[in-house]
């Protein structure tokens, strides 16, 4: 299971980020509160997600440099790094929406 979580880490974080933003925007719609405050919460959440992705990628790169014990693990680590980068791009892309004028 840890192996799968590693491979899919970046994409899972993208998913959590997307759902989180969607929930925040839905909650904002229901609460009819200050949109700027909800956007701020979304931005903080996005930053946390980006940091988690960065840590995941960094950790995987370190493990890769330590010469993994077999090809399958190296394959998984490389996938994790690439998935983290792709997930990161997705998170940034979704976050841009929050930077639009309220």
């Amino acid at each position: 299971m840890r192996f799968w979580l590693l491979i899919l880490g970046g994409l899972l974080i993208w998913t959590a980020h997307f759902l989180g933003l969607y929930l925040l925007s839905s909650a904002s719609d229901v609460a009819r509160g200050d949109a700027g405050a909800w956007n701020g919460a979304g931005l903080i959440f996005s930053l946390i997600c980006l940091m988690v992705i960065a840590v995941l990628c960094w950790r995987c790169i370190v493990w890769l440099r330590e010469k993994p014990r077999d090809e399958t693990r190296a394959f998984g680590l490389r996938l994790a790094v690439a998935g983290g980068l792709l997930g990161g791009i997705g998170v940034v892309f979704q976050t841009l929406v929050l930077l639009a004028p309220v």
Binding site: W14, T72, I89
Partner: protein, 848 residues
Amino acid sequence: MSSETGFDPELYKRFPTTEARPKGELEQLDEVWCGPRRPWEWITAINNNYIGVYYVGAAMLFFVLAGVLALLMRTQLALPMTGFLAQETYNQIFTMHGTVMMFLFAVPAVEALGVLLLPQMLGARDLPFPRLSAYAFWAYLVGGLCFFASLFFGLAPNGGWFMYPPLTSMTYSPGINADFWLLGIGFIEISAIAGAIEIIVGVLKTRAPGMTLDKLPIFAWAMLIFACMIIIAFPSIILSTLLLELERALGWPFFDAAKGGDPMLWQHLFWFFGHPEVYIIFLPAAGAMSTLIPAVAQTKLVGYRLVVLAMLATGFISFGVWAHHMFTTGMPQISINYFSAASMAVSVPAGVQVFAWIATLAAGKMRFNTPGLFAVGGLVIFVMGGLTGVMVAMVPFDWQAHDSYFIVAHLHYVLIGGMVFPLFAAIYYWTPMSSSRPLSERWGKWIFWLMFVGHNVTFMPMHLTGLMGMPRRVYTYLPDRGWDLPNMISTVGSFMFGLAVVLWMIDMIRNFRPFGEKDAGNVFGGPGLEWLPAGRYSLRSVPVIKSLYPVWDQPNLARDVEVGRYFLPGAPRGERETMITSPINAEPQYLQRMPRPSSWYVWGAIFTAGFFLILTIQAYVASLVSGVLAVYCILKWCWGLDRPSGPATVDVGGGVRLPTYVSGPSSHGWWAMVITLIVSGMVAIMACFSYVFLWSRRPDLWQAPPEIGSLLLTLGLLTAAGIGAWASQGALKLDRPRSAGIAAILMLVATLAAGGAFAAEASAWWSSGLRPNASSQGATVYALLAWQGTFVGISLLMGPFVLLRWLCGLVSPRYPATFEVVALFVAFTAVQGAATTLLIRLFPGVGA
């Protein structure tokens, strides 16, 4: 290589073996895996070589039938104000065209391809649940044909393939047409889920030794992701069809705005399934492209790792785009922007795959044979559809193009380029493997060009027709709008496409004739295991995999496999068997005993289909009888499971001994149950979403939940059920003289506790005065209760089933597999019950 299971990878060095195989071993293997000998056995066959071909054949039959409907529509639209089809007939035909193409052709076709190809590709004798494949196929075929036949009685659904309420509510669609769709499709999706379970467990657990994840064929990766997507997406359509049918039949107002319902809920649920559905059918087709393009170009796939990642990313991101079909519904602007961003983001992984294919073609020597032509043609069409997809992902443009013929053009470019052309490429590429005879190259090229030109002549002008303002789903149009010429051109193109399909059918019939020479071999020089010499038992022996392209990279592989120098060269117990391996490193774990054909699953499928279809025509007694018979057949089928026989370990070649029985997470049955529970959990999650969503629409209609005392009783009983289920399997494992009896009784008590909890909760809500047809709260609360009640009902069947097995001496500490999966199910029922109960009792709070 490090070990995942404790298996010593050094043992691989014993292969290929050098000693001669015993006399008669191959003959015994042939006999054990013999094909049908009597006419009835063609129906009860379960081997993937038969079921896979049936499945592909049935899917292509539905493709042809839906194609005929398309031609009827194009004939009607060729000229303005024609009376070729009546308005109502046209409505039924366009609904059936979309529905049959999406539900009865696209998903089953790619699932069928998986069932047909995966065992050979992975080096397995068969997929791990051949009876489940057969059940899924027969349920799909019987259900699909009956569903299609509704057209001949004027009873076919007529609300569009997405069946939006309120158009499909009882007020505006009072006949049973919509019910055919709701019950028929809901049922057919269950069949798709059964196939997905088979594929996930098959790819993860029945690979050839050494076929680690980095050596997994790209098609298998695609099928794995495809099946996982089905598990996540399809519960949503199952739930939405159930809710709409409950509203139509019993007046539970999920979508009726007057009682707090909201038609937008349908759109959310439908498109949470509907948009991933596009990628669900694209991914296997893309996997097929990534497999056959290297063979066509005779070089390795450029960027294997990135293509795997791109497929995984597509699987994830495609779930974040469902609302891009809803840009014009008045959703909050910021939500629309998120979905717009995700819709553009999903083109990134699709682009990675396209560039990998182009790079592979550029790196190798492209051969313009028929699979190659279809692959390149599909690539061109898909890219064009992808570009218009980016256009409609932009909200302002979508507002203009929504529900116009521009969207019809876009979706056909995506689906035909992304799925139909790759499927034809796959059929041309793999038919020599399946029928041992290649399709005609000369005909194939004619078919390709007719199809390619026909497609573009049909759909290219539709972009213009749409931009000129022609809406979708109109049965005719007035002259002098400027739509006449593009419509006429589209009709001519559609008949060109139709001609291509007719020629292909003739060639297929010619190919599958039961006489003539049949020795095609590896026609296209493919690199995968499926091109090794094989019989009905798949490969004679299961090789140790050392490369992603074993046929290209491992010298003498074909010869060594054919003479039995690898794993499992015979049938050590004289039965149908396949090797189960670990999910990451594919290390041998045990030898699975495979079932032999019987008729229970066929009858089970027929009666299951009967239950749903007869329900549509409101013959409730007949439907109930069919349902009871279906349950009986399935129980009869399950009764024969988990009957270990023979020695505890056997030699599978090279002196390697494997156990013949395992349970728990190592066993394939445990995995299947866990996946089934994920499906159920997804339905429950979507139902909870529906509950919260409907509350957010009309919180003023929500009433206070029942008093807290009844909640404690429900939770107490559910806790007892969960603990009882786990304790029962623990008691069995103690392996004491009375273990089996105590375990069976504990399980029975656990199921009764779950039943008690359900009764207590339902009674509490009924006493509180809430009624399901009074408000959206009542509807969702009772829907959640009904879902839980279904699980309790199944648990109450399982309890006596386990008890009966114990009484018949079939429960033993040494064979706990059945017991473990029943315990998993009952424990899940308890957890699901507790979660949904807490939601409906505590949210939105007392007296909201």
